[in-house]
Symmetry: C2
Subunit: 432 residues, 2 copies
Amino acid sequence: LAAGDIPVVESLIEPLHPADVADLIEHLEPEQRKLFLDITRHALEAETISHLDEALREEVVDQMAPAELAEVVTELDTDDAVDLLEDLDADTQQQVLDSLPAEDRAYLEQGLTFPEDSAGRLMQRELVAISDQWNVGETVDYLRNAEDLPDDFYDLYIVDADKKPVGSVPLSRAMRSKRDIKLTDVMDEELRLVPVDTDQEAVAYLFRQYGLVSAPVVDGDGRLIGVITVDDVVRVIDEEAEEDLLNIVGVSDTDFHAPAYKTAFLRVRWLVVTLVNTLIASFVISRFEGTIGHYPALAVLMPITAAMGGNAGVQVITVTVRALATRDITPNSNVMRLISKELAVGLMNAVVFAIILGAVGGYWFGHIGLGFVLGGAMIFNMVWAGFAGTVIPLVMDRIGLDPATGAGPFLTTTTDCLGFFAFLGLATLFLT
Amino acid sequence: LAAGDIPVVESLIEPLHPADVADLIEHLEPEQRKLFLDITRHALEAETISHLDEALREEVVDQMAPAELAEVVTELDTDDAVDLLEDLDADTQQQVLDSLPAEDRAYLEQGLTFPEDSAGRLMQRELVAISDQWNVGETVDYLRNAEDLPDDFYDLYIVDADKKPVGSVPLSRAMRSKRDIKLTDVMDEELRLVPVDTDQEAVAYLFRQYGLVSAPVVDGDGRLIGVITVDDVVRVIDEEAEEDLLNIVGVSDTDFHAPAYKTAFLRVRWLVVTLVNTLIASFVISRFEGTIGHYPALAVLMPITAAMGGNAGVQVITVTVRALATRDITPNSNVMRLISKELAVGLMNAVVFAIILGAVGGYWFGHIGLGFVLGGAMIFNMVWAGFAGTVIPLVMDRIGLDPATGAGPFLTTTTDCLGFFAFLGLATLFLT
């Protein structure tokens, strides 16, 4: 396919949606990709480039001249254009900005000043603001003749003389109303306004909670300056869920498309944490070397308590982290209920497994005392897992740390150490 | 608050959005919740009930009489109504259905026949179908006068005489077109049709990939029978992400709101897997009891190799599972590239940690041979983790199993066993 025949390749790509072309590019081997881009560069739509995965987008953009980039930026909505500009080095960025018309440039320069992951980055500046004096007929006439409107829009925002939004009318309702009806008579006054510095996670929450399709963004003075549409929010929701998932195991979201040496480096941090964790556990075990020398059977059974406590704790942590993210837990309402529930869950499962394991351990090594030690250590560690699995993420959240990232390894360290300590300690007390 | 004064409670709830009232109910203690529902039952909006978490919705619905339920069902869109009906026992369900008008009943009965998690469950039957003969003016007049339209809609679907969709027009475009323009002249012909039995994950993919706001659902004959809107898809995306996250650690998505004994029971399955896993590992260790008896130091260092391999493997699995879910990996394109990359990543990190750990182990116990054994076992296990972490989920996906659920525990079993076996085996060979 990508072996020379330019017109054929172009004709194959032409009917595809930009998002699919972007996927196609992502799936190519690095050398094929370079060839493909050389061939199709001029035929690629701006949209395709903005759909590329971040690591690849940088690669593609680096190969383009400032004039080409300026053209791409002009075609994109402001939110996508800012995303693209942000990745450029300062020089190229300035060159691209200089070659744009003044109004576009001002919007984009302002866009770059908003913090990453804020509403200001998600919004597009192209919007439909309707005067609160107009009726449906005047609005329709305006929409039919105006030039600078976004491609798609779903709500009309009604603004007063100061450009402050006073209400919104879903397009479907506007369309069903007669021409002489005033928009202020059919608008929803309860607006979900988004201040421009709102975190994107909070924006996603608003859309999800209230089933919104678009939301107005306002500046510090309450003036309407942009609109966030649901397609951008879908991307955010997806990203946030991915981040939660990947952070729990210490993987970054650029992991998949990064080259091997970079991926290896990115994952090291979490492996170092694992290493420190197991070294601490090893230290705990080393305190009992004498006991193990007498009873090598302890070394055989020792991983069980630690593993069961660790896994039970990771279950509790995952549920707690997720409940914090979806606001199913709020600091003042149901924290005590959650902790006591998890203690109960931990105790119930601990007793069940203590009996099973105690029996297995006692029978395997023909030593009833060993069974009791194993069962006792198990109860101890699993109840601790239930308690620590809720309290660690809650405390981290309260003091402003991200529980999705750090809670897991921290908890596992405690359950490992406690698991080994309880088992070997009980064994030392009762078996020697 | 919820201590008797009915009018006050009602006046406090009245201005809230149904989704917020549902959250409020979820946050109450069980006894308070019962009281709250007794007081407000008649004031609760149908929407509030459909926003409740599944476990709680069943609780609330169980307390309602069939007549009340019928009223609630009538107010809801068909997709939410079917969700609610599905939870009822067969008797009540029939009573509710019997008290509905014939057309509604037919829709709902059909809705119940679609498999859970299919497009048929997500769609609403209320839709806007426009004849391909009409112009913009006729369409607007129809919309102004028709009664049975959905509350909100975003696209007009153009259908031919057989009710087969031939194109769509975003509302914003229809609104900007002059009255005498034919809809077929401005419609997008490239429709993303959703067959009614499509899995909801595939529906979510369509919306995300193409930034859709609504999509037409067709039956086996290609006739338009419903519409899926983006707010339902946002819920699906959220649910799927949550499922992925929770399944990896063996937790169900009803975990948080379920009572303790149920939660304990739901989590047991994964703990049993952990138990079997560690018992297999214990068996491996037990083969080396003699060696450990001579060198108790081995018991101290033994958990390190297993833990590092396990954690490195879980990182690889998470990335692979996620890449499968987002279709960043497809069976025929880049599997070999991924495997060789992960082998390289595993090897690089293995060498780094083998050197560090070999030094630590050798120095700690003053035995250089022990350091080499530890380092060698580490390289072995981490390279295996890179290989198995990609291959296990890929194979599971190919043979139709869900890699998010089973791959983690399965991999950990192999890294545990291999970690202990490599370390203790090398030690037996070289140190005794």
